[in-house]
């Protein structure tokens, strides 16, 4: 087929550039400037899709985002995208589209049997059946339904495209570039405001491109082109086409997506496919226009039945006839423009008008042109399978609830117009409570809640003259409040056709004894009878009707159906529309690609990664990393074919025997300075800090106010009023916020400054019996003896031309030191440690070995400090000062916390000394007890004790205090394990803590 429906000398497409595309396996051509929809129509193709429920043949009904039917599966290069709107895709080389939700083909679809059986599938039928036998719903019926539903197919591959974001601030955002939008942007921009003008379509101008009007002495499109060129030339204006503002959020934040790439033939490689704009505007001008409403009549869903204004748009912009034998079916005057445009191209149409008469200028013009008009008539039914082929029209009776006579009229398209629905979505999202206008039969914006102004036909202003006035006046007024420039531009004189009133009649009666489906929501197959049924069954709230019938819940979100639906409910209920109300307008206005919403935070960059300055060394030395929050930490250093277990055992054993080095940079470090620092710490920690001597560190525990242990770490007094606090890696940021909270809000009288220094210092822990020898070698001129640097001591040692901070603290339970050095020197220091440690058989160790070491020593960590344990549970009750108050202390006197027999941490050893106890196991008395089996507590951490070469675990169990020596069971039903165990001390190795002091 070769564009049989394209006519010459008409439209804004580029006829020099022919483009081939493939639809359901066949090649077709269109032109640059086409959409898929216009190209398909140019080739005479109307049948594009099947409906969701009844699989009825469906065609394009509109030319923009409101189209409810034209959804296809799109293929381009190696990508595919389901449910693409043919009215929105611009034609470029390499497009292939396929009809969805039909098998074997869109012309012959087996699923159409649903249509034959449609009387058995009314709204909500599935709630009434599929209940027997009991499990058949999810075993039989539901899988079948799931397969049948779903429309297009999602790609299984990652999306190869880039999506980017942009934050922008402006004085005035103008949404929509029709007459009122462009004029408000011009007025505001010339008055000095920073303006963004956003247009969803590739072409600016909206109705100015299709209506037969003049502004000044220019045609609509000429005036648009000049105005846009002028706006583009102004430095204070951003003009964006292909940009849909789809959400209006709090504090005048609007979001818009811009299509940057898909319309380009040869885009550059790093050009994003789409860009999400977060726009914070001081004022928003909503000039989003209006959408034509379909009329409702028997079998009003056949391909070839289209909105009258869309038919005009296909003709005027694309040079495409949607049919050569059209019927125009209307209840108002605007559709006459379509008839006139057809006539101008030599196509005779018949206008079927539900009104008794109209004296509007445009109707008289149509009459003059010889267009046949049938007043007081309506379409009762249509025929044609793949495309409409005839209409049954009839003269309406006086009460318009029946027909006086019926006759057949051949046609190949029907252009319908049921008046106009202002696009008030953004205003409603902003919080504007809409009001019903009974003259226009539609909802209009009422009082603004945020800084938004709705103008043009979105505000119910349907004449060009008034739209321009609104545009220029609003643009000036709003901009002047910001700039105060008082630069007002004159409003141009315009000329337009004259329109009269519409008929408040839009749902055609059925001929006697006929039960034709009259569709309200095309995509979801919601017919008048479904809405009647819902109301009959007592679903009276419009939200109930919507949910019961799925009205307006399809991918077009009811842009053409919502108002008809609720007017129908109001008719049935004999209420006025405002009493029925409307459903909520929720973002997004049109569906938005997920990739666009998320932007560049994908794949490895989904979250930031934090690395220590020593990271490169770990990588070079076969470090295997583990995620610790955002940090990457070496978990172990793999030698040969070692497993995690073997490597961590080797590393831990080497610490116990010789010396190891571990990167502890990620531990939080907080500088605490000021005269009240000690007092502050004394309140924050459960134990005393006032008298900590300078040059000494102390282990501290902090609680939340609800009494739970929050974090632990060591804090060192560097000078009288200067402390260095360390936190766990996980809680570093939370601890800093916690400290700031108390200093700024609770105790502002304390003069203390807290600053994170986590990043300033690289940290290495050296641990093991030979760590002192190593330290001595690293700092040959310093006194590293236990007198010179006692347990919990702190010294600053000169290291090359800088200073190292050396803390004698231990997490491993061995003699150990932590060395901090400024980060740029971190890797170098580490290399020096490794070099100097060679003679002591030093090995780097990772978090897994670190974990082994702390577990067998009975030190608690994150798996015990899990936000649900109090100090007693962790055997940290000795850290709770009785003499002073501290954060969270008062909570500890709660009944549950004082309970004798409360959980307490213990050690657990398998009786066979062989079977490791999986973490997350529970301790029970009787593994075979009836379920639910009472639990004594859970295993929080497990390791292979390198000291004793057998498994060892920590557990927090009820009455743990008195359980030592008991023989119980560790059970992990998930791993099918039941392990007889003995409860022992949590301090499995060196319970007296001699080594750290050695």
């Amino acid at each position: 087929m070769s564009q049989d429906f394209r006519i010459n000398n008409c439209g804004l497409i580029n006829r020099d550039k022919e483009i081939i595309f493939i639809f359901n396996g066949k090649k077709y051509t269109g032109y640059k400037g086409d959409t898929l929809a216009s190209a398909l129509l140019a080739n005479g193709i109307h049948l594009i899709a099947r409906s969701f429920k009844y699989h009825r043949p469906r065609g394009i009904i509109a030319a923009g985002v409101e189209d409810a039917n034209g959804k296809v599966q799109l293929y381009k290069n190696d990508t595919t995208e389901p449910n693409v709107n043919v009215t929105e895709v611009e034609l470029v080389e390499g497009l292939r589209i396929e009809s969805q939700n039909c098998w074997p083909s869109v012309s012959f679809d087996v699923g159409a049997i649903n249509n034959l059986l449609n009387r058995f599938f009314p709204a909500g039928f599935y709630y009434k059946t599929f209940m027997w036998p009991k499990s058949f719903w999810y075993k039989v019926y539901e899988p079948f339904i799931r397969k049948a539903a779903g429309m297009g197919k999602a790609s299984l591959d990652p999306d190869p495209d880039r999506y980017e974001h942009r934050y922008e601030h402006c004085d005035i955002l103008v949404v929509g570039s029709g007459p009122s939008g462009i004029s408000s942007a011009l007025a505001a921009a010339k008055n000095g405001a920073q303006v963004i003008l956003a247009e969803d379509k590739p072409r600016f101008g909206g109705s100015l491109l299709t209506d037969n009007i003049t502004i000044g002495n220019k045609n609509g499109d000429e005036w648009v082109n000049d105005a846009i060129a002028e706006l583009r030339s102004m430095p204070n204006v951003i003009v964006r086409g292909r940009s849909q503002v789809f959400g209006y959020y709090d504090h005048n934040m609007l979001v818009m997506f811009e299509r940057c790439k898909d319309h380009l033939g040869n885009p550059e490689i790093f050009t994003p496919r789409q860009r999400l704009w977060y726009i914070r505007a001081k004022q928003v001008i909503i000039s989003t226009g209006s959408i034509e409403r379909p009329l409702v009549f028997g079998n009003n869903d056949r391909p070839g039945i289209m909105l009258a204004s869309s038919a005009k748009e296909y003709l005027k912009i694309y040079g495409v006839l949607v049919g050569k034998k059209p019927i125009i079916f209307t209840n108002n005057d605007t559709a006459y423009e379509t008839a006139i445009e057809f006539k101008n191209k030599g196509i005779d149409s018949i206008v079927v008008d539900t009104r008794e008469a109209s004296n509007a200028g445009i109707v008289n013009e149509a009459k003059k042109l010889g267009i046949e008009i049938k007043f007081s008539h309506a379409i009762a039914n249509t025929s044609g399978y793949k495309k409409v082929s005839s209409a049954t029209i009839g003269k309406l009776n006086k009460t318009k609830d029946g027909f006086e006579s019926l006759s057949e009229l051949k046609c190949d398209c029907i252009c319908v117009s049921g008046n106009w629905t202002p696009t008030v979505h953004l205003a409603s999202q902003s919080g504007n409570k809409l009001k019903y206008d009974s003259n226009l039969d539609t909802f209009l914006p009422d009082q603004s809640r945020q800084e938004e102004t709705v103008i043009g036909s979105a505000n119910g202003t349907f004449t060009l003259k008034k739209s321009l006035e609104e545009g220029f006046n609003t643009g000036f007024k709003l901009s002047n409040e910001i700039t105060n420039n008082n630069n007002r531009v004159p409003i141009p004189i315009s000329d337009e056709k004259e329109y009269g009133e519409h008929d408040k009649f839009w749902c055609m009666p059925l001929p006697d004894k006929k039960h034709y489906k009259r569709f309200v929501d095309f995509q979801n197959d919601v017919a008048v009878s479904d809405i009647q049924l819902a109301v009959r069954e007592g679903f009276r709230s419009i939200e109930h009707v919507k949910r019961y019938t799925t009205l307006g819940m399809a991918t077009d979100q009811g842009k053409t159906s919502n108002l008809n639906g609720l007017q129908l409910v109001s008719d049935i209920e004999k209420k006025i529309v405002p009493e029925v109300g409307h459903t909520t307008f929720r973002p997004p206005y049109t569906s938005v690609t997920i990739g666009t919403i998320i932007g560049r935070e994908v794949g490895k960059n989904y979250r930031a990664t934090r690395k220590s300055p020593i990271h490169n060394w770990h990588e070079k030395n076969n470090g295997v990393f583990v995620d610790a929050g955002l940090w990457l930490r070496p978990r172990y250093y793999k030698q040969g074919d070692e497993t995690l277990h073997e490597a961590s055992k080797r590393e831990a054993l080497n610490v116990r025997k010789n010396v190891g080095v571990c990167d502890v940079t990620s531990l939080g470090k907080i500088d605490i300075k000021g005269k009240d620092s000690a007092e502050f710490l004394n309140r924050v920690y459960t134990n005393a800090f006032l008298k900590l001597p300078v040059g000494k560190a102390r282990y501290g525990v902090m609680l939340r106010e609800d009494g739970m242990v929050f974090d632990d770490g060591t804090t060192t007094r560097i000078s009288e009023n200067h402390f260095h606090m360390t936190t766990t890696t996980a809680q570093a940021a939370n601890v800093l916020s916690h400290l700031e909270y108390y200093l700024q809000i609770v105790w502002p009288e304390l003069d203390v400054n807290v600053t994170s220094t986590t990043e300033q210092w690289a940290g290495a822990a050296i641990a093991g019996p030979k760590s002192r020898l190593l330290l001595g070698k690293l700092f040959p001129n310093e006194d590293v003896s236990t007198e010179g640097l006692p347990f919990m001591g702190y010294r600053e040692f000169k290291f090359k031309n800088t200073i190292a901070r050396v803390f004698r603290i231990s997490f491993s339970g061995e003699l150990a030191y932590e060395i901090n050095i400024m980060s740029d020197f971190g890797e170098m220091m580490w290399e020096e440690i490794v070099k100097a440690g060679q003679e002591f058989n030093i090995q780097a160790y990772g978090t897994e070995a670190l974990s082994t070491l702390r577990i067998e020593m009975g030190h608690v960590a994150g798996s015990e400090i899990d936000g649900r344990t109090i100090a007693y549970d962790l055997s940290l009750e000795g850290m709770l000062s009785k003499k002073k108050d501290f954060i969270g202390k008062r909570s500890l006197s709660r009944q549950a916390f004082m309970n004798e027999g409360r959980e307490k941490i213990v050690g657990v050893v398998p009786l066979d000394k062989k079977t490791s106890i999986p973490e997350g196991s529970y301790i029970v008395k009787d593994p075979n007890a009836k379920l639910p089996n009472p639990k004594l507590g859970h295993v929080s951490a497990s390791c292979w004790s390198v000291e004793y070469d057998n498994p060892f675990s920590l557990a927090i169990i009820k009455d743990g205090k008195n359980k030592k020596g008991e023989k119980l069971y560790a059970v992990s039903p998930l791993k099918n394990k039941t392990i007889p165990v003995e409860i022992v001390s949590q301090h499995y190795v060196d319970p007296e803590g001699k080594r750290v002091r050695s």
Binding site: P272, R607, K611, S612, T665, K675, K800, S823
Partner: protein
Amino acid sequence: MKRNSPLKNLHQTGLYGNYKNQNENDLLVIREITNLKIFQIVQYKSSTLNIDSLKLDGLSFPVHAGFVEASDTTRVQWNAPNTWIIISSNENIIDDIIKNFHENDFAITDQSHSRAIIQIEGKKALDVIKKGSPLNLNDFKKNNCANSIYHGITISIDMLDDDLNKFNIMALRSFTGSFHHAITDAALEFGYKGL
């Protein structure tokens, strides 16, 4: 002793992104700034000193949010109430600080090794920042600064020059890899020159 700057193994020189149809001299430039001294100075609540009377490297301390006092070697940024960040290429700035800012009045914290600094320069520099930061930069001028976020990473932005559109963007050191990726990735659309 040799220092490893945060971006040592990351930042590379050369041309990147959609640079092909552009004049190389007009391209956006991205470079790492290293070896600066960075100090945070906080005046204690109890300090009665008038900050107006103090100078560092000849610079007074800005008392208004978002302002920088700058010389060729040193920049004094307002960072928070009674809090300033000193960024200086003067190796011995600490001596000056210790001399002028007594520890009874000020908490001074060396942060020289804690930050990665990326400098971007060129007509598209603002567009790069706007891709990841919600900050309103429309009225940003030379010697304005602000803390904000960029693709979820806390940053500080310092505008060195508004003719060239030249910014220093600073982030915590451990985030370097992600930070550098985020900035350079945002620049690919425009094309850039790594220096």
